[in-house]
């Protein structure tokens, strides 16, 4: 295995990511917002920590694009606009959609889960770029930052709700359990 071969495989992975994203069709943006809100609402009700979802979640429409955000665009510390977990962790995310036909496609997203203070890993961030990088090995189009901004590991294409599943049912549960 050479670096060149690794880069070629990474390019092929990016191509597959592109295809999968093209095939991934979601509902129109206002319905996706509704679904995300309903999802977070149900998770909130299973928690002790209160989050005011009506105020936290917002959508901005610009032509065929829609931007759904929760929390700050750049995480620089806890704010009331974050979604706060019982473990002390917090979440912010942004999802960019493009309306296509009677539905929408995912253009890009970022889900930033910050662990509670005192953990060896500070954060995990799931990112989807809107296009390929010149070096797909270093920066796959769909990737996970394992607590380091400069490090990116490939992450398979997920429906935006499925990423929330990983956050709530894997990350948060593990974090809670290890307190």
């Amino acid at each position: 295995m050479t670096l060149e071969r690794a880069r070629k495989l990474a390019e092929a992975l990016d191509s597959r990511t592109d295809r999968e994203l093209t095939e991934l069709r979601l509902d129109p943006p206002h319905k996706v917002l509704s679904q995300i809100r309903a999802y977070l609402l149900r998770r909130s009700e299973e928690m002790k920590t209160r989050n005011n979802l009506i105020q936290l979640l917002s959508i901005h429409r610009a032509g065929e694009f829609a931007q759904i955000d929760l929390g700050p665009s750049i995480d620089k510390g806890a704010t009331p606009q974050h979604f706060h977990f019982d473990s002390g962790a917090r979440l912010s995310f942004g999802l960019t959609l493009r309306e296509v036909g009677r539905g929408s496609q995912v253009v890009s997203f970022r889900y930033h889960y910050t662990f509670p203070d005192g953990r060896p890993t500070q954060f995990l961030r799931f990112d989807l770029n809107d296009g390929p990088h010149a070096d797909p090995l270093a920066e796959p189009r769909s990737h996970l930052h394992p607590g380091i901004d400069a490090m990116r590991l490939p992450f398979s294409v997920h429906n935006p709700i499925e990423i929330l599943d990983r956050i709530f049912f894997v990350l948060e549960r593990t974090t809670l359990g290890s307190r």
Binding site: I54, S73, T96, V107, D130
Partner: protein
């Protein structure tokens, strides 16, 4: 004119959900954009209740048509729309057949503003089922305000160290990286065309 509580459609769906996805309530349609709001209500019901939500026009449905429609299936959410308003006779007729309209799933009356009086006056049995659950359809929330948008733009500009105009120029020159924060920046600037 007595005012009813204004509720976001999202909260109206929540109310039905905590009831155990059953029961009746009435929503007064806004004067403008009634069709859009009806569609939004349907969306919220589907998202929150996790079951299909249908709209049935009360006029010109007959007794048989309504009874069949409400029971096939009988456990999804049904929005009964009174359109621009029903006649007194139609309300009386609906009231008489209330038992035939009873079902497992929730029933939401989507009413023109003037129909509340008709409901109380000519359909006391249906009104009795609704009780205090009469709400004005309010704004659904979630729309990013201009202040919030500006706050995000400032935040992004401070983080990346250049202005929005420079971000646009870089995007035009294909020099802007593909990171999601930068994608968001362009969308918030109204320049999704550069993606």
């Amino acid at each position: 004119m007595p005012e009813f509580s204004t509720q976001p459609l999202f909260d109206i769906a929540r109310r039905l959900e905590i009831r155990g996805e059953t029961g009746w309530l009435a929503v007064l349609a806004p004067v403008t954009d009634s069709t859009t709001n009806l569609d939004r209500l349907q969306t919220e019901l589907q998202s929150i209740l996790q079951k299909p939500a249908r709209v049935i026009e009360l006029e010109p449905s007959t007794f048989e048509e309504l009874r069949e429609a409400l029971h096939q299936p009988d456990d999804d959410a049904v929005i009964l729309s009174s359109g621009t308003g029903l006649t007194q006779e139609k309300w009386r007729s609906l009231d008489i057949m209330r038992s035939a309209l009873e079902r497992k799933g929730p029933v939401i009356l989507w009413l023109a503003t003037g129909d509340v009086a008709n409901l109380t006056e000519h359909a006391p049995y249906i009104r009795s089922f609704i009780g205090a659950s009469i709400f004005l359809a309010g704004p659904d929330g979630g729309i990013m305000t201009e202040a919030e948008r500006q706050e995000r733009l400032n935040e992004l500009s401070q983080h990346f160290g250049f202005t929005g105009d420079e971000a646009v120029r870089k995007a035009q020159a294909r020099e802007l990286p593909h990171e999601p924060e930068l994608v968001e920046w362009l969308v918030l600037l109204g320049r999704g065309d550069l993606l």
